[in-house]
Every structure is written in structure tokens, then in C-alpha cells.
């Protein structure tokens, strides 16, 4: 069933599917950033896919000069009980990515978390606040150039 979905996806979006990878029986589809919203809407509504459940959205920092950030969408179909993973590259020069909350309202908090941790701005997200860190915090902690021990004085302590 999953191969049908990937084939249909390729036929539907010939220019936006950048690659398909298999590892340990899991399928990862690389999608062009501009088309992620259309691809997600297609996967959610397509008869062979029906990925109506968004398990998780997260970011990753590949720490490369180009396409530094990845956004990973782990999707699940409650009807067919299969999973698929979408991946989008985001360049450091342009940290914008379309939001998918119109497809899955539950993507709201995971996208906020990704913004909080990597600084990726989701266009179309109406409530893009930090999820965990204080609002005045200037850094993005899960980026690879953020030190493990933190930055001194980045979180002001209360006055004594």
C-alpha cells in the first residue's frame, strides 16, 4: 500500500519530490519546501494514503553550509496503519517554511517547538510563540552551534 502512495505522490508532484529513501522498512520522502503544504494535503486526503494522524513534527540541524535545517514530518494513517516520513530542507538564509496546521490542527505545538528549538518560522502559523524557552531568550538551543552548557547570562536570573 505504501509503495502505491509513493508512486502516486511522484506522479502527482513530479517536480517537488526530491528523493525517496528506505531504511529499516521506513520510507522517507524528501519534498521541496514550497510544495510541502500541497503534498501534506494530498497525503491526508488520498485514498491510498489517508495519513490523517500527524504523529510528530520536528527539526534537525545538519550543520551544512547549504540546506542546513531539516523539518521532519512523521505521519501515520489510522485507517491503513502505516507510516511515512516527509522531510523538507530549510536554508539558513531563508528560515521560512509553510505551516501545515491547516491540514492537521495538531501540528500547532510541534511547529512551535521547532521554532523554539531551531528558529524556523512557519508561515501561516497564527500563534508562533516559543514553546519551552522564555520569550526573551535570543538563542535556539538545539542548533549545533549552541553549546551544550548553555550561554552564560542568556537567561537573566531574578535580582536578589
Amino acid at each position: 500500500m505504501l509503495t502505491t502512495v509513493v508512486e502516486k505522490l511522484k506522479a502527482q508532484f513530479p517536480n517537488s519530490i526530491l528523493g525517496v529513501r528506505e531504511f529499516r522498512g521506513e520510507t522517507t520522502v524528501h519534498v521541496k519546501k514550497e510544495d510541502i503544504l500541497n503534498v501534506c494535503a494530498f497525503l491526508r486526503n488520498d485514498e491510498a494514503g489517508l495519513f490523517n494522524y500527524c504523529s510528530d513534527i520536528c527539526g534537525a540541524d545538519a550543520y551544512t553550509p547549504e540546506n542546513r535545517f531539516e523539518i521532519i514530518y512523521n505521519l501515520y494513517s489510522l485507517s491503513y496503519k502505516h507510516r511515512i516520513r516527509l522531510k523538507v530542507f530549510v536554508d539558513e538564509a531563508d528560515l521560512h517554511c509553510p505551516s501545515v496546521i491547516s491540514v492537521w490542527p495538531g501540528a500547532n505545538w510541534p511547529e512551535r517547538e521547532t521554532y523554539d528549538m531551531f528558529g524556523i518560522i512557519f508561515d501561516g502559523h497564527d500563534d508562533l510563540r516559543r514553546m519551552y524557552m522564555p520569550e526573551e531568550f535570543e538563542y535556539f538551543p538545539l542548533r549545533k552551534d549552541f553549546p551544550m552548557m548553555g550561554v552564560p547570562d542568556s537567561i537573566p536570573l531574578p535580582r536578589k
Binding site: 531504511f23 529499516r24 521506513e26 522517507t28 490523517n52 494522524y53 500527524c54 504523529s55 510528530d56 520536528c58 534537525a60 540541524d61 521532519i72 512523521n74 489510522l78 496503519k81 507510516r83 516520513r85 492537521w104 490542527p105 495538531g106 501540528a107 500547532n108 505545538w109 510541534p110 528549538m117 516559543r130 514553546m131 519551552y132 524557552m133 522564555p134 538551543p141 538545539l142 549552541f146 551544550m148
Partner: protein, 418 residues
Amino acid sequence: MNIEQAMDVRQQRILAALENKNTSVYFDDALDNEMILNMGPQHPATHGVLRLLIKLDGETVAACIPELGYLHRGYEKLAENVSYHEFIPHTDRLDYLSPLMNNTAYVLAVEKLVGIEAPRRAQYIRTIISEMARISSHLLGIGALAMDVGALTVFTWTFREREKMYDIFELLTGARFTTSFTRIGGLAHDMTPEVITAVKEFIEQFPEKFNECITMLNTNRIFVERLDGVGVITREQAIAMGMSGPNIRAVGLKHDLRRTQPYLVYNELDFNIPVLNDGDCLARYYVRLNEVKESVKIVQQCLDKMPSGIVHANEPKKVLPRKEQIYTRMEELIHDFMLINFGVNPPVGEIYHAVEASKGELGFYIQSRGEGHPWRLKIRSPSFMNLQSTSQLVEGGMISDIVAVLGSLDPVMGEADK
């Protein structure tokens, strides 16, 4: 001046002091005005450090914004800087009500990435400890829900049962809460006959004690009426918001990863998935209650079926050797040195593995670059996603129902805040 008069003067002075500080607010009609209320982060009914900002219209909740992050410890950052083995103790601190389940979920994900499998006996033991963790977590969930809506006794009763379980966990792992029991490719050590007897004894007496607890609640009119029809979510909303675990099974959806994507030995066991259709607090409570009964069945079956044998996969380059072998044999010493200093080094790739934890779908997404530590580790925590629906559940309801809704969602902030 007699004592009564003195008290009266004292009261008058306190009142005067209060009024002087402009602390009193007068309304023409108190119920006509909107009010912003801050609940938490230090509030007994928020199950940890959850903060809710509530906009009230009289007694009705007009809007509710949950605020997270008060328990954020940066475990995902930490995971990128420690080896795969070193991260196991940190999984205890995610959902601290079922640490054994988190240990199991994490090593299953790493094993999938590495490409090894634990022996049969280890799988059975992992199933037993997972279900024991589920029972203990649901016991707290039910007890705390009852306490939140005013039935204090049941909380102490479920804690009595939990205490017995923690004695078993201590006997098994050496610690009550911070168990760190599983290892990549196996377990820290085998389950001794002493522990098996203890588990058997517990499971034998538990259903009767559990029935006592739930009879107290199910026949309690106040408890049932506090939950019935409160915090309703529809099936479509629950799916769209990414709810999981007992919360999604309370909206009539038979979604349980133990059945839909079987792991461990669940496909060899006979158990039911409790499902209810109402989607209110009472349905969520009943799903948890029935799940405890199913978990008891699973533990019993596992104890009967458990095979004998080793509990460590025969993969010397991936699985930590036994202590006594490290001290006596050269090859094991080398393997131990390599595993501790360089790690298990899984192949380059990425996996996502999810288990049905007590709160819902607990998934680990791991990106490996062939090093001894993960390049990226993402924890998909069920409490985080379940809490996302809080606003929908409480808006339009009464302020006093917020605690009932939170109790029935059963979030754990250690997991939601990571």
C-alpha cells in the same frame, strides 16, 4: 475590654489594612465581568508544573492558554552529547510515573536503528515490566483524578497498591523510580525467581483490591456527575489534534499500537482494547480502568508463557558484556572498552519507533551518522500532544471542571516538557 471585643478590634484592623492596600475590587455585578486567572505553575491539580492562563466570563471559561516549559531540561540536546547507553537513565525522568515503560520504548528504538533484537525471554520480561508500569501509572491517574474532584480516599488506596509495585520494582532493578533497567539488546539482568514470585503474588491479590477502589468511585454519584459529559471532544477533533492513548480510545477509536503495529510479544497475547464512545472525562476514566484489568491479564499470560534462556542478545559488538566476564576475559574487556568509549555506532540512517505507553504514543525519532551518539533524537511525548487539546476541552465549561479535565487527560509534565 474582654476577649471578644479584642478579637473584634483585631478583625477590624486586618480589614482596614486590606482596604488600605487597594486590594479590594468592587463590581456592580460580579458575574458580568471578565476576569483573567492564572492557574499554576505551582498548583496541586496541574499534575506538575503546568501553567494555565484562563479568561473567565463569570464562572464560564472563555479562553484558556496552556503554558509549558517549567520543567524543560533539554533532554534532546543532552541526547546528542551522550552515548546511546548513557541516555537510558534520562528516559526514567521523562514520564516519571512509568519509567520502566520509557526504558523499554527507548531501547526498542535504538535496537531498531542498530538492527538487533533482544532474546525471547528479555522480550517477555520487557512486556511484563511495561504492563506493570502501565498499571502503576493508571493507578495514579485514577487516584489523582478522584482527588482532584474531591474523593480523597481512593487516592490513598491506589497509592497503597502502587507502593507494593514499587517494592517489586526495587527488588527487580534496585531502585523504586529511577529504574534504568533495560539495556540495548537486553536487560540489566535477568528476572530472578524471587521477583517472579513477588509479581505473581501481587497480581493475584491486585484485582480484588482494585475492585474495592473502583467500586468506591463507580457507585459514587458525586464523582460520576462531576465527570459525566464534562470536557467532551469529538472523534474528528481528537484525531486532528493528535491525541493518543486512553484519551483517543475514549472517543470510539480502536487505536492501540500494541495491536496496530505490534512490538515485543503483544501479538502472541490475548487481550482486549477497551474503547468507549462518549469522549468525556468519564469515558477517559473508564478506559483507564478497563485497561488496568487488561494489563493484569497480560502480565498473567506473560508469567505463564515466559521461556527460559538468556536475556542478552549474542551481539558482542553492540551489547554490553556481563561484569564477571569483563573481569576475567580479555575479549569481553575489549568489547566493554570499545562500547563505553566509542558506543554502539549504528549505521547511518533514521528511524522512528513508537510504543503504546501508558499516556499514549511514545515515539523516538533518531538520526544516526554512524557515531556513538545520536545526531538528533526527538521524543514524541504523548502528554505534550494530549495537553494541546486542553483549550478545546475546557472552553465553554465551568471553571471547576478544569481540574476534572486535566485529571482525566492525565498529563505528566516531565514528559511534556522534556
